[in-house]
Amino acid sequence: MKDLNKGSFYNQERRWVHMRDLGAISTKLQREGELLKRLNDALLTLEVDALERISELDISSEDVIKSRKFIIEFAQRLCSVLKQEAPSIDLAPIVNHFKSGMKPVEDWIEDLERLIEHLQNNRIVDDDVVVIEDILSLLDDQFTEDLRRLYLR
């Protein structure tokens, strides 16, 4: 016969464990979510601008300039973390992934430097978009991994 009390105790214990983590996980999610949203919005803006359809998303020319600036600054920060091992909590998942991946870190730095140069000259090519998409995918994976921890409460 199934021990219902045992089951409910187990569930309460599980819930307790996850409740304790709620504050720390939701703060982490908030930080990750903000960076993910800003980078995703910035890339979306540049892509829609390249298609000359910014008005359909209520994007202004000023938004395009701001998005370009945001991606340049983000890529510069990431480069500096990759080169000097400067501490950064927000970029830790990306850096750890780059360092443990097949592609050498030097190649990532080179890609990021090329992306910065292109954006500084108001250009964006397919290879640049792929680099940002790879980074976005890592950030999104990290965000959804933490989101699942909340759902599993």
Binding site: D21, G23, R31, E56, P87, E133, D140, T144, L147, L150
Partner: protein
Amino acid sequence: MREYVNSKIMEYSLILDWIENEIGILQAKSVHPQIISFLKNRVSDLKQSNGCLKAILNIGNNRVINRTLPIIHDIEYRIYMLTCHYIPGLKREQESDLFLRNLLLSNVERMGLSWVKDILVRLDGPHAALPALSEIPIIFAPPQQANSLLDMAGIYHELGHIVFQRFKEIADNLIETISRHFSERMKEIGPMRPEKRTQLEDAIKDAKNYWTIERLNEIFSDIYATYTCGPAYYFSCVDMIVKMGGNPFNISTTDVHPPGAARVHACYKTLLPAYQEEEITLLVRNMWETYVKSYQRLPDFELKCADVLIDSIVETSIQNIKNLLPNARRYSSTIRGLSEARTLTSSDSLETILNKSLKILLKEPKYYPEWEKNVFAILHSKHAKR
């Protein structure tokens, strides 16, 4: 993908209408106008995000459609906050939840949380905080908390999460402290065989990576709680570790909390020197030392949670509290003897009451039930109103 995004647009449209309707019902009951206003803004932002999904689909470019998934994940997170926490919390709110909410809200200025407009209290779970919307955080506590001071100091730890969430620089400054500490350990490595050196360097890198944002959040929240609540929180932390059992030096890679021994050390170091020598603190310290005597300090603990590192974390955290929360009052009341502890005055802060409670509980427990009853008679008369 296009079909999936289209279905999500419809789903969000329906769920946002439902949320809006629920908020309308709650608004009609005139509860928590600040929270209602924040939630309405939240729904409006969500509708905008849903509109963005529609516009992306209209553009129709496959590459641009790739941008929809992170937007969907963001919407899911924000809807989860509303439908799983705020709306049920508001709908189930009882007099006891409201009492604790009023009690906490009357203390937030002194705790330095000047930005907090309202608090949603849910007396239906263990202590926890949901600080995602830092102006209107949710605090969870067990239901007996409406009539018992026991373990109430734990709520100060939850308030620490709200502070950590509010100021990103706290995490940044703590990570700098951690990096500095481990860089110094690297420099200290003397001459040795290359394989041994690599092994040691890897262990130091691993120790540095142990300090994730969640663990920094937890230890900061302990430090904040001790800063504002004094010995009452120090005891609460010791009690929590002892009652849960296990080796307090054990490092768990799956637990977002640092090991108990590191947390207790951080709390002790946060106490003002006068309290470190005070009778009650010495009593609690003695309890703790008796408990830890039977456990071994593991080498992994020595590397990841060395006393010198925890001391630096305490120093950085206190500096951040002083700089970012200039109105937060460090606990500094003096309760001279038991007769003073048993006497309540109208000027007693919640922290003073909790420290009096600790003194009576540890020194004269037989007086505790009656004393606590009197405390709640006073607190209810002050804070039970809507």
